[in-house]
Symmetry: C2
């Protein structure tokens, strides 16, 4: 199977329902007026473990056979996927081995540890991470749960859009941030399979535009580790299963500036009264920067996560 059908997405939703939250979709008069559109914000910052990643992680973990599950799961991630996988594994009562680069922020290390993740530190860089992961998998028999290059993970991430369309059936657009492309694949599949006329737009930091480049080129293009403030989107290259799905189901991928991301983040904190991380502000930045024509339309935006360091807010930096 190289893609997913609607039945598989719905089965994923049933599978993870006991383990995730039904997050609200918020609307806001002031933001609608300011942008000239009707906006619905799917609040995955309010999801368990603070991000949509709990959906994909739970679907992967609860898809395992008992024999597979007993050997645990392993992944490399310094961020929300690691915490979500550790949480999902704990819910199933199995070990989660998490490879993190040495020097990861203490807040992220603590977060993974708080869910019982077994942390192995490695050198920075994708090669070292993948090597450490492969070594752990070989030693323990644990199943690799890749953060985005995995159909079970993609199906889980798509469930956010199933719920979004249940709550706001008349959407014209769905927007989501693009890191490795796992959420974008799940979002696009759910949106197009449920409502073929809807338009799906991925939004990527211009500093981390590997998926936008790959989308246009028709082949996976790797870039050096990007320096965007959107720390959840600093991937080098989309996955093998991801690009064909993105090419088939996504209408466009647009890019936004770093200043736009900070402005969007601040505006959403102030008006929506939500703590969201920089990555989650990226789709709204596309509205601020008018990256496509959305006037008068119903636009759904996935607010992907809320895990942020409250000591260093970007608009307070000197």
């Amino acid at each position: 199977m190289s893609s997913l059908d609607l039945a598989t997405l719905r089965a994923a939703h049933e599978r993870i329902r006991p383990h995730i939250k039904r997050t609200p979709v918020l609307t806001n008069e002031a933001l609608d007026d300011a942008r000239g559109a009707r906006l619905g914000f799917k609040c995955e910052n309010l999801q368990a473990a603070g991000a949509f990643k709990s959906r994909g992680a739970c679907n992967a973990v609860f898809s395992l056979t008992d024999a597979e599950a007993a050997r645990g799961v392993v992944t490399h991630s310094s961020g929300n996927h690691a915490a979500a996988l550790a949480r999902a594994a704990r819910l199933r009562g199995i070990p989660a081995h998490i490879v993190m680069p040495a020097g990861s922020p203490q807040s992220k290390v603590r977060n993974v540890a708080s869910f019982g993740g077994r942390i192995t530190f490695c050198e920075p860089g994708l090669n070292a991470r993948e090597a450490a992961c492969a070594k752990l998998a070989a030693e323990t028999g644990a199943t690799l749960v890749h953060p985005f290059d995995d159909l079970r993970v993609i199906a889980g991430q798509g469930t956010a859009t199933i719920e979004l369309l249940e709550d706001v059936p008349d959407l014209d657009f769905v927007l989501c941030p693009v890191g490795g492309g796992g959420l974008l694949c799940g979002t696009a599949l759910a949106a197009k399979l449920l409502k073929p006329g809807i338009r799906v737009i991925g939004v990527e930091p211009a500093l981390a535009d590997d998926v936008a480049q790959s989308f246009r080129a028709g082949q996976r293009i790797a870039i050096p580790t990007p320096a965007t403030i959107a720390d959840g989107l600093r991937t080098n290259c989309t996955g093998e299963v991801n690009l064909p799905i993105i090419r088939q189901y996504v209408d466009d991928i647009v890019t936004v500036s770093e200043a736009g991301i900070v402005a969007a983040m601040r505006e959403l904190w102030e008006k929506l009264h939500l703590v969201i991380e920089p990555s989650a502000a990226v789709p709204y930045a596309a509205l601020l920067e008018r990256k496509f024509v959305f006037a008068g339309q119903n636009v759904g935006l996935i607010l992907t996560g809320g895990n942020v360091d409250l000591e260093s807010l970007p608009w307070l930096k000197r």
Copy 2:
């Protein structure tokens, strides 16, 4: 009528339903574990205009006869009540005259103006505010909508607890912050009339404990304008209609420290991923400071508002 019955509260809920949001009740595994109780947070920071005040203001404005409404409404408030009243008046298409002390923060002045409120500045101090209000009422025929000493306002504020109990019927406790006592009265009436066995606890900053003092003394006690960081709770004295209701329906009023309020605010931002103002953190501070016995109980907390200056967060102050 010196108090309110359940039918009046339910009528208020029906009256304001088209003009307010049904806010979610959030739960959080980590906070439940940390506090040893099951917590439900009623997210009035996600309410229209960013605070529960929209409930009382809408009930007051939409209770007016057409003849009364045509002459507008007037209030004195520098905070959320002013913005909520301006918004409610605009929804009904009538003028709202808002008396604000000279030197009010620009963010609050902008907020009131953004909803079309007609602002009159006065000298600081309750006397000057009331005099300016009375003068405007005499000149325009506008109806005074007091921020808390008003049964229509109290009925509106109580609707948050109607919804909270619909979503979490098995609550043992409801906690809310105490400023002038409008929310406390509405909360206590709704809670006790719907579920007589529930316990209602008001939480007040120790620096602004006029209602706690009045509750124990059985008479209204005024204090100098308090300096608490919880800017929404800096009232001098509860209202005439408020104290009898509080004495009849509230189980206890406890007080919390300034450090507790800041710690509670920070913990809720970090774990719930919500922007809440200091006043909204006051009930959770009572859990942090173990001001009553709640182990193993179902505790509802009203997160009252999210209007905060993002430039100056208390944990970043030197």
